[in-house]
Symmetry: C2
C-alpha cells in the first residue's frame, strides 16, 4: 500500500515521528504537502483538514491516509503502523506498553513546544519571549530531568536488554525517542551536554537508531528536513543562558 502523509511541508514537527517509522519500515509513501503540482502541496493538506478528502475527520496534522482510511494523532498513527510493519509486536499487552511509552514521549514533546510558546501557539516567539525564558528554565530544571530519568530507567529495566525500550527489537517508540534526543541536543545543547554522562543508555539508543541503515540513508537524504526555529525543537540560546 502506498501511504499518504499529510503534514506541514517545511518543518519536521510531529510529522517526523511518522516519517521515521515509514522510513525504517521501508514503506512507500507520499509526503503530500511537500510535493508540487496538481493535487499536492498545502492546499491538499487544507482540504484534508476541512474533511473534504473522505474518511474520519482529523483535528490536526499529522494525518495518514491508508487506502480509504484517514488516521490522525501521532501516537495513534504509530500504533496503526507498528504491527503492520514490524515496528511493534502483535500481542496487545506489549503493544499497549509501547503505546504508553509513545504517549509519554508525546507529553515531553508538548512540553518542549511550550518552552518557546508558553502563552499562545498563534503568537510569535518574540511576543512571549520573557515568559518563554521562565518556562524554559522550569522545563530544564524540573521537567526534562524527570523525563530523561524515566526513560533511562525503562531502558535499564528492559529484561530483554539489547538497548531498546522494550523487547529485543526496535519499535516505533525507540525511533520517536531518538528524534526527541537529537531534537533536545539541537535546542538545548549546553544542558544536554552537561546531562549526557548521566544518561548512557539513552545515548546508546540514540546512536543505535542513527546507525540503522534505512534511518542513516533517510537522515542523509533531502527527505529529512533540517531542524529550525519554526519547528518544535528550536535553538534560542537565551532560553538556556547561564546554564
Amino acid at each position: 500500500m502506498r501511504y499518504e502523509l499529510y503534514y506541514w511541508p517545511t518543518i519536521q514537527g510531529r510529522g517526523e515521528f511518522i516519517r521515521l517509522a515509514l522510513e525504517e519500515a521501508a514503506c512507500e509513501y507520499v509526503d503530500v504537502a511537500r510535493r508540487r503540482g496538481r493535487g499536492s502541496g498545502v492546499p491538499r493538506l487544507m482540504r484534508m483538514l476541512a474533511g473534504r478528502e473522505g474518511g474520519e475527520l482529523p483535528f490536526a496534522p499529522p494525518i495518514l491516509k491508508a487506502g480509504p482510511r484517514v488516521l490522525a494523532q501521532t501516537a495513534n498513527i504509530l500504533y496503526f503502523l507498528g504491527t503492520r510493519h514490524d515496528l511493534a509486536p502483535k500481542e496487545e499487552r506489549r503493544r499497549l506498553w509501547i503505546q504508553q511509552l509513545q504517549l509519554t514521549i508525546g507529553d515531553l514533546v508538548d512540553e518542549v513546544h511550550e518552552t518557546h510558546h508558553p502563552i499562545a501557539s498563534g503568537l510569535y516567539y518574540e511576543e512571549q519571549k520573557r515568559e518563554a525564558r521562565r518556562r524554559a528554565r522550569d522545563f530544564l530544571d524540573n521537567r526534562l530531568p524527570k523525563y530523561l530519568d524515566y526513560f533511562e530507567r525503562v531502558l535499564a529495566r528492559n529484561p530483554r536488554g539489547g538497548g531498546w525500550l522494550t523487547g529485543a527489537r526496535v519499535t516505533y517508540a525507540d525511533l520517536s525517542l531518538f528524534q526527541v534526543l537529537v531534537g533536545l541536543a539541537y535546542a538545548f545543547p549546553a544542558s544536554m551536554r552537561r546531562a549526557g554522562p548521566r544518561y548512557r543508555r539513552l545515548d546508546a539508543l540514540r546512536r543505535a537508531v542513527e546507525a540503522r541503515p534505512r534511518i542513516q540513508a533517510y537522515l542523509q537524504s533531502d527527505r529529512r528536513l533540517p531542524f529550525s526555529e519554526e519547528g518544535i525543537f528550536r535553538h534560542y540560546p537565551e532560553l538556556e543562558a547561564g546554564r
Copy 2:
C-alpha cells in the same frame, strides 16, 4: 476482576476519565489513594510511581492495575478498558477512531491546564497569574472554539446518529467529552454560556451522559469529588474577566 486505580486523592484530574469509564461499566475497583488504612493512601501511590508495585514502570498517574498488569496514560487505560467492558467496539478500525477522538480530548485537557499554569506546573497559580490571563484569553478566543467546533462537527457527521461521537452506542470518548464539557462550564461559565447555542449537539451529549443511570448514581455519590481550584478545571473569574 477488581481493578486498582492509582490517582491523587483530592482532585478529579485526569483520573476522572478513568473513574467515569469504570463507573459506567459497573466495574469493581478500588481508588487506592483515597482509601485509608494499611497499604492504601498516597504512600501506596508513591510506591507505585517508584516502580515498587510490580508491572511496567509508569511515568505519572492515572495508573490502573489489572491483575499483574500496570497501565498508565489516560487514553491508553481507556483503550484497554473499552473493549473489555463494552465501551468501545472490538473492530480495530473503529477502536482507533475512538482512540483518536480520545487523544484529541486529551490535547484539549492539556490546554485547559495550561490556562492556569502557563509557566510551570510546579509553581502556584498566584506566581503566574499575569501570564495565565494572557494564555486564558488566547485559549478562549482561539483554541476552545476550534475544539468545540470540531467535536460538534464529528457529532453531526456520525452516520449512525443517536447523539454519540461514533456509532450508535456510548463509548469511553463520549464519557470523557462529557467530563470536559462540565469542567469547562465550571471553569469558564460566562464563555460557555455565550457559546452554548452554537453547540447544540455537544449539549445534548452532555445531557445524555448525565442521564445514564450509573453515571447519575456516581455523580450523586461521594465517590465523585467536586470541582475545585486544585484540579484541571479551575474557576478563576479573572481569567475570563470582561467576556
